[in-house]
């Protein structure tokens, strides 16, 4: 491993800062990691047939940081990946701003993909964070989501949920 590359959870946090996946990518992975992948979630200009001009993200910051760290640790344990970093942005974001970055390093591609998928699916279930869509016609609404639960089972999905 290079001196600055360390295993484990490099970062897991909610932030108001602008996100760039390449920043995380530069910091992750050592000489034993044959697979490094990056996921960027970006604000798109449409949802359910409507033109979106802005997404406002709100979070329970103190709890969200703890939940993100838990999810990242679980992802490492269950996948066998060697390092992970995840940051979620809050505030007002216009397309195509980056709302989420997940970077994973692993010896092989399979644990890297598994860890990345785990983080995204779990944060959609558990991260105390919300978004309000603002449309081209000046209206806005809070998006339906999922009822969070502490465990991985017994998760309820709101029938009103519109985002996947």
């Amino acid at each position: 491993m290079s001196p600055e590359a360390i295993g484990g959870v490099l970062v897991a946090e909610v932030t108001e800062e602008e996100l760039k996946g390449s920043d995380l990518l530069r910091r992750i992975g050592g000489v034993s990691d044959g697979a490094v992948i990056l996921f960027e979630g970006r604000v798109r200009d449409h949802n359910t047939g409507r033109s979106v001009v802005c997404l406002h993200y709100d979070a329970y910051r103190e709890m969200a940081d703890e939940v993100l760290r838990d999810i990242a640790s679980e992802a490492l344990r269950s996948s066998g990946a060697s390092a992970i970093g995840v940051r979620h942005r809050v505030g007002s974001l216009r397309p195509p701003s980056v709302s989420l970055v997940v970077a994973v390093a692993a010896a092989h591609r399979r644990p890297a993909y598994e860890a990345s998928t785990y983080v995204i699916e779990e944060l959609k279930r558990r991260l105390p964070l919300w978004k309000r869509e603002e449309y081209a016609d000046g209206t806005s609404r809070w998006l339906g989501g999922r009822t969070p639960s502490s465990g991985r089972t017994g998760l309820e999905e709101q029938s009103a949920g519109v985002l996947r």
Binding site: D58, W130, G145, R146, L163
Partner: protein
């Protein structure tokens, strides 16, 4: 003293907008639970928040209705979450 506990409940997202504030004070009987808190919030029409699909976090952990709430706990109502 009177066997009641004042709980400051943090609100987020649509709840914060509906209630017009980020914290609401709720009186619970000593030994009260998350379920009691839900009932107290639902019984306050002026608050105007729907608890359907919402979870309750105590000290930053999601809790079921049976969980106790004691003086000094950090309590929050969590509307359906939508990260990503």
């Amino acid at each position: 003293m009177t066997g009641r506990v004042e709980v400051l409940v943090r609100l987020f997202g649509q709840h914060r907008e509906a209630a017009g504030g980020s914290v609401v004070s709720v009186q619970l009987a000593e030994g009260g639970t998350v379920g009691d808190l839900r009932r107290a919030l639902a019984a306050d029409p002026a608050l105007g928040i729907s608890l359907e699909g919402a979870a309750v976090a105590v000290n930053r952990t999601y809790q079921s209705d049976e969980a106790p709430i004691v003086d000094g706990d950090e309590v929050a109502v969590i509307p359906p979450v939508a990260g990503g």
